[in-house]
């Protein structure tokens, strides 16, 4: 099966009641899509879409949740650091890069393994470089489960870790050094794509 065999619809109360339960290979994803995704949508924190089969309209092939986000930076450029710190101690350079955060993405157990996950990533990338997109979007960010299969999947699709190490990410998230990092932030720079 490919995305061409599917229809994109919102994953809302109607979709959930019209389709068979969406089951993918990860229990946390199943919990998210069966319960939490609607709450995210109700609070306008993230919107979930799904692909349903054209042949079997009750089959949810895949689902994903997206939210507006940004990558904000604040630092002093090295060349000016000393001078600025001496004269204006609190002056910093800040930048903000608009991004879309793919909070969760899951493929049905019935379908997985055929490359449809990569097709969905390509779709999301293409969606946000479309000239009709009404707002600018520089990066796709994903909050990937910190496990070999999802990390390898996103790496294969051109994503890089936002933080160079787990220790650095733990520090930024203000977790205890002994806490296990359940997810890793990864990014893809849309600037490299030519539409």
């Amino acid at each position: 099966m490919t995305l061409g065999d599917c229809i994109l619809i919102p994953y809302d109360h109607t979709a959930i009641s019209n389709c068979r339960p969406f089951i993918c290979a990860n229990d946390d994803l199943n919990e998210f899509f069966s319960k939490d995704s609607i709450n995210y949508s109700d609070q306008l924190l993230g919107k979930t879409y799904c692909f349903v089969s054209k042949e079997d309209s009750q089959l949810v092939v895949a689902a994903f949740t997206v939210a507006n986000d940004s990558i904000k930076t604040t630092h002093l450029p090295n060349a000016r650091k000393k001078v600025v710190q001496e004269r204006i101690p609190h002056s910093k350079t800040t930048r903000s890069y608009p991004a879309v955060l793919v909070g969760r993405l899951g493929v049905s157990k019935e379908i997985s393994g055929g490359g449809i996950g990569s097709e969905i990533m390509d779709f999301i990338k293409a969606w946000f470089i479309d000239p009709k997109n009404k707002t600018g979007c520089r990066y796709i960010a994903v909050d990937a489960y910190n496990e070999a299969i999802p990390i390898n999947f996103y790496s294969k699709n051109g994503f890089k870790f936002l933080f160079s190490s787990e220790e650095q990410e733990v520090e930024y998230l203000k977790l205890k050094p002994t806490d296990k990092l359940k997810t890793r932030l990864m990014i893809f720079d849309l600037i490299i794509l030519k539409s």
Binding site: G4, L8, K35, L173, D189, I191, K194
Partner: protein, 52 residues
């Protein structure tokens, strides 16, 4: 409840500098270097049939 979706923290100092350097490098050296026109055309067809 499933694991909450993380938001992206503000990057500071060395991490911010490295990120900006990478973003600037991609803009100046790698902009539009990957032909994605087939994927864009395919996405257009999907969106044309979508029921959003």
């Amino acid at each position: 409840m499933a694991i909450a979706i993380k938001s992206i923290p503000v990057l500071k100092d060395k991490v911010a500098a490295a990120f900006i350097a990478d973003a600037d490098f991609n803009y100046t050296k790698k902009k539009a270097s990957v032909d994605f026109s087939k994927q864009v055309a395919k996405a257009g067809k999907i969106l044309a049939q979508a029921k959003l």
